[in-house]
């Protein structure tokens, strides 16, 4: 029994890592007030870019870099249409997802079926990984997993304890107030959205380069939508995103392991989405809005003339 739990936990972490990267990025984007429904497209483009570049160059880190750049570029388009053109953010994001799914399939065609030549190797952290039980559980992951974990406190710190974070959150809560104080609202939103894209790209790369590892058309399989759900579920907080990512990742992994126990994997898979609806509902009350909840300006474009 213990074995089962431990192995399940152990599987949850890599499964949750792409989700974690994506969510951390989307948290920042949404905190600035921009909804990015293009995450799915950015993740899959990151996946194909990462796989493709590392396969052809033989370098894992070049692959990850490529994925980050690709994600960032796509996010730049989204930022331009959402912030500068002030077009409907929902539609813009959806269009990017469609685009990403289509283009990635084309780019990835030559790589289908190829095993990845260079891998992210798991790192056995000296000493710690030799601890019985916990060692296997926590200390034998690859670098990206640890990077993801490390980013959580960093991004949380930046968000709450730095000047940048105050500015970002203010833009998301009340862009008019921020603008009146001389903050460049457009710049902040561009930066946050691009950051979100970069992280989504990296998350996608992890999927194709470490988790699978392989390139399969459409391999994100809705991970981007889970990221959207996770962002809400985490109530736009990086620390809760960590918990949520491993939870949702774990659910994805567990679905097959729990089957022998009679628990349907599909019902399990529904949980994250249902829980997210629950969170949306609970945080909709006026009182709740003041304490926790969505950044007040999420999804509304800002223009000084509209004031």
């Amino acid at each position: 029994m213990l074995e089962f739990i431990l192995s399940a936990l152990r599987a949850a972490i890599p499964a949750g890592t792409p989700l974690l990267f994506g969510t951390l990025g989307e948290v920042y984007a949404e905190r600035s007030g921009v909804l990015n429904l293009g995450v799915e497209g950015m993740m899959i483009m990151g996946a194909v870019a990462g796989f493709g570049v590392s396969q052809t160059t033989g370098s894992v880190w070049l692959g990850i870099l490529a994925a980050a750049v690709v994600g960032g570029l796509m996010a730049l388009i989204h930022a331009f249409t959402s912030v500068s053109l002030r077009v409907n953010q929902v539609v813009s994001g959806l269009a990017l997802t469609m685009l990403g799914l289509g283009v990635s399939g084309l780019i990835g065609k030559p790589f289908v079926g190829q095993p990845l030549a260079v891998r992210l190797q798991p790192i056995n952290i000296p000493l710690l990984s030799d601890i019985p039980v916990l060692g296997i559980l926590l200390f034998r992951f690859d670098l990206m997993v640890y990077l993801g974990m490390a980013l959580v406190p960093v991004l949380s710190f930046v968000l709450y304890k730095t000047r940048l974070g105050v500015t970002l959150r203010s833009v998301g809560e009340n862009p008019a107030a921020a603008d009146a104080m001389g903050v460049n609202v457009g710049l902040v939103r561009y930066a946050a959205v691009i950051f979100g894209g970069v992280m989504a790209g990296i998350g996608g790369a992890y999927l194709s380069m470490a988790y699978a590892p392989a390139w399969i058309e459409g391999m994100t399989a809705g991970a981007g939508w889970i990221v959207i759900a996770l962002t809400i579920f985490a109530i736009w907080d990086p620390r809760r995103a960590l918990l949520g990512a491993y939870l949702f990742g774990g659910v994805r992994v567990l679905q097959f392991r729990l089957q022998p126990l009679g628990i349907s994997p599909n019902l399990l898979n529904m949980l994250p989405f249902l829980l997210t609806i629950g969170v949306l509902w609970l945080s909709s009350g006026q009182a709740a809005k003041k304490r926790i909840g969505a950044p007040a300006s999420l999804m509304s474009a800002y223009s000084r003339e509209d004031r």
């Binding site: 304890k161 730095t162 000047r163 105050v166 500015t167 959150r169 203010s170 104080m181 903050v183």
Partner: protein, 519 residues
């Protein structure tokens, strides 16, 4: 009047400021001098140009003509940042605060504070600044936890934290309770004792007398006078503020008024911010009369009208139409009872992208002949629209033209056409001619007078006193949600009206107008 050239004691000198906007001259050669260490009031009605003048000083607008000297130096203020560099800060009427964040986070927003833990140092400075001026503030409190007065203090702190020595405040007491107003005055006094200067914009005479050292009165974009407060009184200020050229006799027919149509009894309505907007207000409007509510915008007119039309619920009191209590009824029911409404913001009652015809049927689309069963009779709609377009001389390429393409005057005509032709009992019109040229204004007035002759009861809300006095049969002056005085227009006394508008005079309530009588 003499011009004060930059002298040692004058911290702000604005000379010959002209600012034009399309269709209106907001400032017409305004001159202002403010001495260091004083509290200076800018007094005037809506549209007098006081806010525009201060927006120019704060860099939100640039003047078309004129110069500004700050502390003896000629300056060009191109943006709020420039103003802040010069030590000028502004506290707006509507606060720009992030509700979810703490006081400190709001104060430091946009500043080049320390990158890491920016709030640590800042909160100490904020607390020190606050106590220097006698302000009680908790730097860690979230804005939504604070009262309006406390939020205003945060706004003040924002300005002085950035080194403002000259503080401009726009209608500072509009959101405050009397107690908070007292506290604010204390704070402002402390600030001037420390060598700071305060300019505040207001239309309330009591405030001017109580709080200011000197007062500048604006009217029609010009500065009328600058006086030492202790050498003047409310009456004089009111006269200066409103002027004498207000009465303007229109060719009004004598109409016999009928039964009471609109009855408002002891109405209390709360504003969006939770403050009382209408307080124990009662009035009557009879058939065939125009009852005009005079007053500066923002004194509860909007909330009153919304309570009567059903767009907002009142907390207390009663509204009746033709004897029927409609206090709790939906807007739709009130429309069915004959309550029609031309709002001040016309796009609240019109759909810009839809055709003129589609807009004209907004109130009566459910009734025959336009609505039959579930359907709309297209031919009937067309006929109806054409009829109204002709009758009210609405200039439009066609009935299917999107209404946003019409000129302002014609849009207003269409709006009035719809409301008047649909109306049978009570017509409420708010700012009916704002933004319209003289010709269009004339026509709208004639339409309203014609309606009056037809026996409709009309409630007119306008911040243009000339309009109100020209059109109305009876006038009520509103200030801070109360009727300060009510009288037939023949008995209008400009001095009294001015004082009432500015809150300094209250007449005893008149007995309810009896049915029948001449206007």
């Amino acid at each position: 009047m003499t011009i004060d050239l930059p002298e040692g004691n004058n911290t702000i000198v604005m000379h010959g400021i002209v600012k034009r906007f399309p269709g209106v001259v907001a400032n017409d050669g305004a001159n202002l001098t403010v001495r260091k260490g004083e509290i200076h009031a800018l007094l005037g009605e809506n549209g007098a140009g006081k806010t525009t003048l201060m927006n120019i000083l704060y860099g939100i607008y640039q003047q078309d003509e004129g110069e500004i000297w700050v502390d003896g130096e000629l300056t060009h203020i191109h943006s709020p940042n420039d103003a802040i560099q010069l030590g000028i800060g502004m506290v707006h009427q509507h606060y720009r605060l992030v509700q979810n964040h703490s006081v400190t986070e709001n104060v430091i927003l946009g500043l080049k504070e320390k990158f890491f833990f920016p709030t640590k140092e800042a909160r100490k400075r904020i607390v020190a600044l606050a106590s220097q001026y006698g302000m009680k503030i908790d730097p860690d409190a979230r804005i939504w936890q604070l009262s309006a007065g406390e939020q205003q203090r945060v706004e003040i702190l924002k300005a002085i934290y950035r080194g403002a020595k000259i503080l401009i405040m726009d209608e500072p007491t509009s959101m405050l309770t009397p107690g908070e107003t007292e506290e604010l005055l204390h704070i402002l006094r402390r600030m001037t004792e420390e060598g700071n200067t305060v300019i505040f914009i207001t239309h309330k005479l009591e405030e001017v007398i109580e709080a200011s050292d000197r007062v500048t009165v604006l009217r029609g974009g010009k500065v009328i006078a600058t006086l030492d407060t202790n050498t003047t009184n409310e009456r004089e200020l009111a006269q200066l503020m409103v002027g004498r050229d207000v009465l303007f006799k229109l060719d009004k027919q004598v109409v016999e008024t009928g039964e009471v149509v609109l009855g408002v009894d002891d109405l209390c309505v709360t504003s969006d911010k939770g403050l009382p907007a209408v307080v124990d207000l009662s009035l009557r409007v009879c058939a065939g009369e125009i009852y005009g509510i005079a007053g500066v915008s923002g004194n509860g007119q909007r909330e009153l009208v919304e309570a009567i039309t059903g767009l907002r619920l009142c907390s207390q009191g009663k509204v009746t139409v033709n004897g029927v209590d409609i206090t709790q009824k939906t807007p739709k029911t009130r429309i069915q009872h004959g309550v029609f409404f031309v709002p001040g913001e016309r796009w609240m009652a019109l759909i810009p992208n839809m055709s003129v015809a589609d807009n004209l049927i907004l109130k009566n689309y459910e009734q025959t002949p336009i609505g039959r069963g579930m359907l709309l009779d297209g031919a009937a709609v067309a006929d109806y629209a054409d009829g109204l377009i002709k009758q009210y001389a609405i200039v439009t390429p066609g009935r299917d033209t999107p209404i946003k393409m019409l000129s302002g005057g014609n849009i207003q005509r269409a709006l009035l056409a719809r409301e008047i032709s649909g109306c049978c009992s009570l017509l409420i019109v708010v700012q009916p001619t704002s933004g319209l040229d003289v010709g269009a204004t004339e026509t709208i007035w004639q339409l309203l007078l014609a309606e009056r002759e037809r026996g409709t009861a009309i409630l007119l809300i306008s911040d243009d006193l000339k309009e109100t006095l020209s059109l109305s049969d009876r006038v009520g002056v509103i200030f801070e949600g109360r009727i300060m005085g009510e009288f037939p227009v023949d008995e209008a006394d400009i001095d009294q009206i001015s004082l009432m508008m500015a809150g300094s005079l209250r007449l005893p309530p008149q007995p309810v107008a009896a049915a029948g009588g001449q206007a």
